[in-house]
């Protein structure tokens, strides 16, 4: 069990839950941050924060404290992951 902000650039995880205010949670879910979604850390902003995440084929930037409220689990846990996110390709970025 970890949170999104702990993942390193290039790592992926499966979203478990969002511990955020309901309005924020709703907004994030409409942008693809739903339970069981595969989230990949794409890059950090030049200042180190915010971080750009790849989810559902989109690139969304979040600040550290928001990402710290998103609970994740490792991607190996679940086998259907690839089918749930079928076709959504987020090539992992090389760590700079």
């Amino acid at each position: 069990m970890s949170v999104l902000s702990e993942l390193k650039v290039g790592e992926s995880g499966i979203l478990v839950a969002l511990d955020l205010r309901e309005s924020v949670q709703n907004h994030l879910m409409h942008m693809g941050f739903v339970p069981d979604a595969l989230v990949t850390v794409l890059r950090r902003a030049p200042a180190g924060d915010p971080t750009v995440y790849g989810v559902d084929g989109m690139e969304i930037a979040l600040r550290h404290e928001t990402a710290a409220a998103i609970r994740m689990r490792p991607p190996e846990d679940i086998a259907i992951q690839s089918s749930v996110n079928a076709g959504v390709t987020e090539p992992p970025e090389a760590v700079q």
């Binding site: 309005s23 709703n26 879910m29 030049p46 200042a47 915010p50 690139e59 928001t66």
Partner: protein
């Protein structure tokens, strides 16, 4: 040509939908999916489009002349993610869709635009929109791009799943659009309500599960995301190169505006003067010639001269907006924005304020937090808008030597100009910090920013922006500047004096009404290094900043001491170096724009905020100009 535009792909509606005779059609969809591009196609109008979410912040209406249905009104709406309003612009869309927007007709049919590159997520909006119960055509936009990148969708199956017709289109290329009139022609007779087998979605999670099921059943395969975006971002968002390139881009824009814009502007100026001289013999000598040529024409042409620079600036801002770089700039700037207590999203309106504060203030509607939004509105006029450019250009050309440093790479004039831009930016940031740490304190709203894929700006859209801007510039010159110049000329020639011989003549400029008014306010501005003519310019430029330039043109033409001089030499007559620098700083900080004040009033629903803003900015401008004048005087002597 891709096969998406073949009529065979159009899926006819399964059953006629409930509607009377159609009058109003509404365009709805998630942000940045191409609604405004489609709106422009269908109406033949020119709604602003760009490549970032939140370009459209209010509803726009137009007749669907582009598809030969000018009996129908089309409404373009701000993008929404769901039918829960979370920001001001989304609230507008939802109210219009539900027919609850005062002054906007109730829609009879809906065109739901979805971006086929991200269809699964975009489908989450389909269920609540279809549940509103209006006849709806689902348009899968950018389907040419989706297919080119290896994506796939069975639109027939999708139509069956949604219980609504589906068409694949490309708004940018204009393909597949024949589905729209086909759909609209069918919606003529009132009929029984169609059954809708869509689940009622309680929350976002269930909506997403439903969207995933639908996209799986319809064989949707998302296209590969463009590798180029990753590669470009590897450089533009690089820890070291990213911010450096950002600075270089800004510097480069100014350098080009100067080095290409200046010669163009000189040629244009000669042309305008020549035009005036051509007309001289056609006009009766005496006061008519003086009014038309030395008054109005001189005033207008002194501002028009700067059109090449302003259009170049708009071209560059257009490239930044259309390519998708603006969101990256917001990402780079978030750290600074957060230090002053603002959301990184506020950076997008602030950046577009470099063109003009009026649309920038409207663009703040995308900021969810009300206090953040007000703080952003209040600091936006500090950003250096294009109307300041003619004033800066005029003063820099007259007072700053054209010397170059770094082997001719960086000009002193560019440095001064950049300094003025930085001064405005710093004033905006400092004021925002002040506001956010006092009266507009609020809990932080999370920063959620979508980074669109890079797109090559199309020549068509860039050309349209530049042409539109030229239009606005000419219209302003036609309205405000002609009016002000006429008034100035009349005031400068009143009251008429009787000469000893009994003939009538204009008074000495200092004795004219304008001269008396100028001398009346002179004591207040003398400490800033300004004479009475500059004072008149400051008063008239409250209407719009560029009026300063035309006022100086008219007054210097009316003043015997400067009549024979060009505008630049005439200014050297009116101002010391200290006064000139003070005047530039004054313009960097002062709120001299009635359109901006009217917009602030509209967006905050009270005259209180524009009044506070005007006085605050005036105080800072006065203080800074005073300091600059005295410091320069102390150094230069």
């Amino acid at each position: 040509m891709s096969d998406c535009c073949a009529p065979a792909k159009f899926v006819p509606p399964p059953s006629p939908s409930p509607a009377g005779v159609l009058k109003t059609v509404v365009l709805i969809g998630p942000p940045n999916c191409g609604k405004s591009t489609l709106f422009n196609r269908l109406t033949g109008l020119r709604q602003k489009i760009a490549n970032y979410p939140g370009v459209t912040v209010e509803q726009r209406m137009g007749l669907m002349a582009g598809v030969g249905r000018d009996d129908l009104t089309l409404i373009d709406l701000p993008g929404i993610y769901s039918l829960d309003p979370y920001s001001e612009d989304a609230r507008v869309s939802i109210n219009v869709l539900r027919g609850k927007m005062p002054g906007t007709p109730k829609p009879d049919a809906v065109l739901l635009v979805l971006d086929s590159l991200h269809l699964t997520r975009q489908l989450m909006l389909a269920a609540p929109v279809l549940a509103v119960g209006l006849p709806t055509l689902v348009l899968l936009n950018m389907s040419d791009l989706m297919e080119a990148r290896g994506g796939k969708i069975d639109s027939l199956k999708l139509a069956r799943e949604l219980g609504a017709p589906v068409a694949q289109i490309s708004a940018a290329e204009g393909t597949g659009l024949d589905a729209i009139p086909l759909f609209l022609n069918k919606q003529t007779k009132r009929s029984a309500a169609k059954p809708l087998a869509l689940p009622v979605m309680g929350n976002a999670e269930s909506a997403h599960i439903w969207a995933q099921q639908v996209s799986r059943k319809t064989g949707y395969r998302a296209p590969l995301s463009a590798e180029s975006t990753h590669k470009i971002d590897n450089v533009l968002l690089h820890r070291f190169w990213g911010p450096l390139l950002f600075l270089l881009v800004v510097l480069g824009v100014f350098e080009v505006v100067f080095s290409i814009g200046q010669p163009l502007s000189e040629i244009f100026g000669d042309f305008l003067t020549g035009l005036g001289e051509l007309a001289r013999p056609l006009l009766p000598t005496g006061w008519v010639q003086s009014l038309v040529l030395d008054g109005v024409w001189k005033g207008i042409s002194s501002v028009l001269v700067f059109m090449p620079q302003i259009l170049l600036l708009f071209l560059f801002i257009g490239i930044l907006e259309d390519s998708g770089y603006l969101s990256r700039a917001a990402l780079i700037a978030d750290r600074v924005m957060r230090a002053i207590g603002l959301n990184g999203k506020a950076f997008i309106p602030l950046l577009s304020a470099y063109a003009c504060a009026v649309p920038a203030i409207m663009a703040t509607r995308t900021i969810e937090n009300k206090r953040d939004r007000l703080a952003t509105i209040l600091v936006t006029p500090f950003m250096t808008c294009s109307a300041r450019l003619p004033v800066y250009m005029m003063l820099i050309a007259a007072f700053i030597p054209n010397t170059y440093y770094l082997h001719g790479l960086l000009g002193l004039r560019t440095i001064v100009m950049l300094g003025l831009y930085v001064a405005g930016l710093l004033a905006a940031l400092a004021t925002a910090w002040l506001l956010k740490s006092s009266i507009l304190k609020s809990s932080e709203t999370p920063f959620i920013l979508e980074l669109p894929q890079y797109r090559m700006p199309t020549l068509r859209s860039l050309a349209l922006r530049v042409v539109d801007r030229a239009h606005i510039f000419l219209r302003n010159a036609g309205k405000i500047i002609v009016g002000v110049t006429l008034a100035l000329w009349v005031l400068a020639h009143m009251p008429v004096v009787q000469l000893p011989g009994g003939a009538y003549a204009s008074p000495q400029l200092a004795d004219s009404l304008i001269g008396r008014l100028g001398h009346f306010i002179e004591p207040a501005i003398a400490p800033l290094g300004f004479n009475w003519k500059i004072g008149i310019g400051l008063v008239s430029s409250v209407l719009a900043r560029e009026v300063m330039v035309s006022t100086m043109g008219t007054l210097d033409a009316a003043d015997p001491a400067t009549r024979s001089l060009g505008l630049e030499t005439a200014l050297q007559h009116d101002l010391s170096l200290g006064g000139a620098l003070a005047l530039m700083i004054f313009f960097a900080f002062a709120m001299q724009c009635t359109s901006t004040m009217a917009m602030v009033k509209r967006e905050t629903n009270s005259w209180k905020w524009p009044a506070i803003q005007f006085l605050y900015m005036l105080a800072i401008a006065y203080g800074a100009a005073f300091a600059v004048n005295h410091i320069v005087m102390a150094i230069v002597g």
